[in-house]
């Protein structure tokens, strides 16, 4: 019964300061949105890095007439390296077929190919790395004397720089986001303290009478704590309500960007949403309870 009365007083607090409550919740929503933007950015950055990393490969072209067994040996040797994700051997016939398929609409190239008469392609290996930083190891592995002299050409793009750029930009945005989230959190704390202070002021007469007729300190204080928890809960629900449609449209846009890969933001939230918003609520509630306690310590003499 006491609990019901405490809940009633907490909702009365909110209702009597409805505009202040709206401002408080808005600020908390801003804080949570910033945190979620940061989180989304993190997921997108990871997807971008993974997507680039998956495309990292080096194509090793062997000289004409290289023994297929030697190419197979080189392939096995490379696959044995922990830094190598995969090494695919492409036979001359397959290379020719791919070339024809790629240029099927280009008459000039196809007729030039026919002019040559024989298959101009040799054996090649497409080696993909696990990480951009693994390139030096892979390249030095290709210096292996048992097959180095049969290699005609090594062709790779410097993805390391692309990944570095993504990481640098992401890191900067993460820092900026973290600073913004901290600023919003600080403002939220001040606003919650002020909201509770105003509620204490509005309730001062009722509080003095409560004390007079024997209300315990916990009975007087708990509605203010509960008010802080309610603000956190409402802010979390509103943030989730805003985040979902935004994520759906963001995913649609990001998917075309990362095609054929999936941006993964929506999947990430669908899989971890409960945990993410649950944790955000918990942290916000704890921070707000502490803020309310600070306000009560300063302004509520019970």
């Amino acid at each position: 019964m006491t609990l019901i009365r405490i809940i009633k007083f907490a909702f009365q607090n909110i209702a009597r300061n409805v505009w202040l409550s709206v401002i408080t919740v808005s600020m908390l929503v801003m804080t949570l949105l910033t945190v979620n933007i940061l989180l989304t950015l993190n997921v997108l950055a990871n997807t971008a890095v993974e997507s680039v990393e998956e495309r990292i490969d080096v194509t090793v072209y062997f000289k004409d007439g290289t023994n297929p067994d030697l190419v197979a040996g080189a392939q096995a040797s490379l696959i044995g390296l922990s830094q190598v994700r995969d090494a695919v051997r492409i036979a001359p016939e397959e290379a020719l077929a791919r070339f024809r398929a790629r240029h099927e609409d280009d008459e000039a190239i196809l007729s030039a190919l026919d002019e040559v008469g024989e298959n101009p392609f040799s054996y090649s290996l497409v080696v993909s790395a696990r990480d951009a930083s693994d390139f030096p190891t892979i390249l030095s592995a290709l210096e292996n004397p048992s097959f180095a002299e049969f290699i005609e050409q090594k062709d790779f793009e410097d993805y390391e720089e692309v990944i570095g750029s993504i990481s640098r930009v992401t890191q900067s945005v993460r820092w900026l986001g973290a600073v913004l989230a901290a600023v919003f959190l600080f403002i939220s704390i001040l606003i919650v303290i002020n909201t509770v202070r105003v509620a204490i002021y509005i309730y001062r007469e009722e509080i003095s009478i409560m004390r007079l007729v024997g209300a315990s300190s916990a009975f007087i204080r708990t509605p203010f704590w509960l008010e802080a928890v309610i603000y956190s809960l409402v802010a979390t629900f509103i943030t989730a309500g805003i985040a979902y449609p935004v994520l759906v449209s963001l995913e649609r846009y990001a998917d075309t960007f990362f095609y054929p890969a999936n941006a993964g933001v929506l999947d990430f939230y669908l899989a971890n949403g409960l945990l993410i918003f649950g944790l955000e609520f918990l942290i916000l509630a704890v921070v707000n309870i502490l803020s309310a306690s600070l306000a009560m310590r300063r302004y509520l003499k019970v």
Binding site: M1, T2, S208, V213, G214, S216, F219
Partner: protein, 227 residues
Amino acid sequence: MIKLKNVHKIYPPDIVGVRGINLHVEPGEFISIVGQSGTGKSTLAKLLFAEERPSKGQIVIGGWDISNIRPREVPLLRRQIGVVFQDFKLLQKKTVFENTAFALEVAGVRPSRIREIVPQVLRIVGLDDKLHRYPLQLSGGERQRAAIARSLVHRPKILVADEPTGNLDAINAREIIDLLKKINSFGTTVVLVTHNREIVNGLRQRVVMLSNGEVASDVEHGRYKLA
């Protein structure tokens, strides 16, 4: 019921509230604390319901030494002592019933019990026909009756009334004093703090007179004489 032994209350730096008060009030007694403004009457009342702590000395209420009462024990004491003030301290947005019930609500009493107790108490103070009126719809005397009803819902052993007639005309003041006498007749110890000479003299009960924070006189069936 109430024992004060050499009680001092000094406000920093050296303002004397009360000094060296020795008082013994028996259960069921009706005692008037009188004196001019600033003589320590209200300080003495506040010491009784632990709104203030003594700087020195001992205060025992019903065998409970409250001289150094802990903050979390104060609500328990307040449920045993009814308190009434000159300015009524009623919540304007609550009806007479709700104001009276409020004291029980904050103590966690069940609604069914509240619905049982409140009308009984309001009948005692003569407000049983004004349950749903707001304080602003009541006369001064009725407001004080509502405040007294609220102080009685816990069935306190002691009722401390600090200038309960201060805001009332003579007729309403008389009615409030009659009500306090009626409550006293049920066995409740009444401590009346007042500077109203006519009321005290009409009571013909024990009168303790304070002067400069000290007990100037303590007379059974006394009268309030100007010093």
